[in-house]
Amino acid sequence: MEHPDAEILAAVAMGQSADEATFAHLKQCEVCRTEVAELTSLAAALPAATADLVAPPDAVWDRITAELDQHDSAVPAPTTSTPAAAAAPAPTVPATAPPVPAPTAPAPTAPAAAEVIPLGRAAARPSGLRRYLPVAAAAAVAGLVVGGLLGRWSAQEPVPAATVVSRASLDTLDTKTVRGEADLVKVGSDLSLRISAAPMSPDTGGYLEVWLINKDLTRMVSIGVMSPGRNDQSFEIAPDLIAAGYVIVDISREKLDDKPQHSGDSLVRGVLA
């Protein structure tokens, strides 16, 4: 007896109907019934599973790398196909390959993006900010300019007063064509990044991701996913992030490849000032 694919059992567990053959199988097969029951229980538990995860402060990762670099001088080089990432522990990007225009002196023809990736450590940099992403996603859904600060949005919600703290012009990397701008908007003690740009298209089957790159050019964090075709979108960000120097806004084309790092394919970039 061939069991249905786990994905089909998951669909049944979530109350989506299945074909008759699946139900006929479930009638006979206790193993699959148990599987469905467990998946059902998991699906029911998930919405409540927003436990208060506490990400460690960035300093913890710094201490880990420092400890490993100090004691394991013979740390094996990364074996991936991104050799530049081998420089992961290096505190700075090699001067020979400036990956992003410095905030004060943007290079007129910054090499595009592939070289941003070398922020091996940075791209993968642990950050408490990860937990803000769902909020950004929720805000994206709501299409809020500002507001919905707790990720709970409502179309009826009044838009609170906002002040623009700083602004970045979003320019293409090659021709420096202005495609829009990013405003750092403050509402109360909350900050959000409002992107207003000409619609940009992801690659077929891909999506657009918004990043903040540190002015030290060695670190970056993802702050959310742009919804295609939209030209005005806000992303919640932690005030600490700006204070820590993450002031370079970058929008990249990403593929559905489950590689959380920056793809290297930057569409636009700008420095908040």
């Binding site: 694919d5 994905e7 089909i8 059992l9 998951a10 669909a11 979530m14 109350g15 989506q16 109907s17 299945a18 467990e38 998946l39 998991l42 699906a43 538990a45 998930l46 409540a48 599973a49 927003t50 436990a51 995860l53 506490v54 990400a55 460690p56 913890v60 990762w61 201490r63 880990i64 490993l68 394991d72 074996t79 991936t80 991104t82 990432a85 081998a86 992961a88 522990p89 091996g120 450590r121 993968a124 940099r125 642990p126 990860r130 769902p134 929720a138 994206a140 859904v141 992801p202 999506y207 993802s222 996913v225 919804s227 295609p228 075709g229 559905l256 490849d257 489950d258 959380p260 790092q261």
Partner: protein, 210 residues
Amino acid sequence: MAATGSRYAAGSPVAARAVGYGDSVVTDDLDAEVRELAIRLRDGDRTAFAEAYRRWSPLVHTLALRSLGNHHDAEDATQQVFVSAWRGRHTLDPDRGSPAAWLVGITRRRCADLHATRARHPVATSEDADVRVAAPSPAVDLDERLVLAGLVEGMGEPRRTVVRMAFYDDQTHEVIATTLGMPLGTVKSHIRRGLVQLRTHVEEVRHGAS
């Protein structure tokens, strides 16, 4: 019945519709990706190590925080867990599952060690009393909600965002598809496969704890 996706009622993520099972467009790539991450980590790839930290350090740190009761010790424990993980990376068996369960196992042992140290030096425990966040407990409590939240956090993108939107924000599949510019079938597949993946990983964590 009509099977046009656009027809079902907004507001109900589980609106009845004959699901086209043939439209599974997400392969097991993401499941394979976790395995690949484990292999790279075991083989000494520092970028894989950083990625594992990014994915699972919130889970490790929160478990340690709840066990040890203060931020200082929890941060130390997190540091020690990941340093131990790197040095003991050869003990990671990619065939036994995702690195999450392995890291949780290291966390539990590390916290038990720290509690044992405290028992020998009881004075040290009062230092951080002002930032104590919970009653410390010698055994790491694998609270199901916390483990689930930590495992969702550790999912690869874009599945993580899709799963969060579906289960935490209660968005319909259509809204998720539109928002992320992703085909509907892909969204559904991520949700279903994500659920299956979570179940597997929860089992691994539980199994490692028993």
